[in-house]
Amino acid sequence: MKEERFNKIVSENSERIKRICRYYNDNIADQQDMYQEILTNIWKSLDKFRGDAMLSTWIYRIAVNVSITYASKSVKRSKLYVNAETDNLSELIADDNPNETLKEEQQIQDLQNAINTLSVIDKALISLTLEGLTIKEIANVIGITEPNVKVKIHRIKTQLKEKLKDES
């Protein structure tokens, strides 16, 4: 029973988990390690899942918590990686004009550098924003209030914009 449930969850959410792994690691071996670590923790916590939260939120909680634990253990791992194919990338710096897109490689590199000056928690918030989670869902993952999430994300975006301005 547990095995079937686990298989179903993994097959339905593997893309989601892999994306999170890619945000935090730029090489396949580290992505693979983190992916296995997340699956291990999904397996361990499966019996505790009662459906109080949405399954996707529950998966994100595990993924973010594993990534934060990784970051706490190794400075090397506390980076966030984005590329031109990352969804919602423009969301981060284009509040006023959502059609504005990041196309140039240099721009993306600058954004990447700016993101990696952020703190571990801010990076987690960014990864969830890039995943397209709503403010309410992010609040449910991190465990803070919705207004608090709004304030934090606004602050991060302002910080990123300023850094990008300085770069250019």
């Binding site: 893309e15 296995q36 529950w58 909680r61 595990i62 594993v66 706490s72 987690a124 991190i142 465990g143």
Partner: protein, 178 residues
């Protein structure tokens, strides 16, 4: 995407599940070994009392000693079992904030309920000290010296291994609360 496929191909799910079940069984097995060990210890102690009283007609049996030793052994056994479960079943599906709060609590140098284990160990030593061939006070000095040495070694281990994790978790909590 290329990256995506690579992750997919490298993970054989049925094999991975087998590995997980093995890990679960291993941890479960450790629990069982520990449980059986303590149970045997407690049963042997009880058996020793029964044999002494009913078969060897040893009427000089020290009830206070046996009560102290048995009750504290059972308490320590239950306490350690609970702690082990807590460390081995860290729940990553809680909110990040709750997970960090629990990490700080787990890696605290001294927790309120640790007082209970000190009381239990004291009662155990009092029990073991009664009728001890070394003499009561001599035994207390010997036993508590061992505890002090272990505490010093444990503190060094905590300082270098667990304190940095606790500090990091505290930093992250502050960041979330900001």
């Amino acid at each position: 995407m290329d990256t995506n496929n690579k992750i997919n191909n490298e993970l054989d799910l049925p094999q991975f599940i087998k590995k997980l079940q093995k890990e679960d069984n291993f941890i479960g097995g450790l629990y069982k070994v520990l449980e059986i060990m303590y149970l045997i210890w407690i049963l042997l102690y009880l058996l020793g009392i029964i044999v002494g009283v009913f078969f060897m007609k040893d009427l000089s049996v020290n009830y206070l000693k046996h009560t102290c030793v048995l009750s504290s052994l059972i308490f320590i056994y239950l306490f350690l079992r609970k702690r082990k479960k807590e460390y081995q079943n860290v729940d990553y599906s809680q909110t990040t904030y709750d997970m960090l709060k629990k990490t700080v609590l787990r890696y605290k140098y001294y927790r309120k309920e640790d007082t209970l284990i000190i009381i239990a160990v004291s009662i155990l030593f009092i029990g073991l000290g009664l009728d001890n061939y070394r003499g009561f006070w001599h035994y207390q000095i010997y036993a508590w010296s061992c505890v002090i040495v272990c505490t010093i070694l444990g503190s060094i281990w905590w300082y270098f291994k667990l304190k940095p994790l606790k500090d990091k978790a505290n930093e992250l909590i502050k960041e979330i609360e900001e």
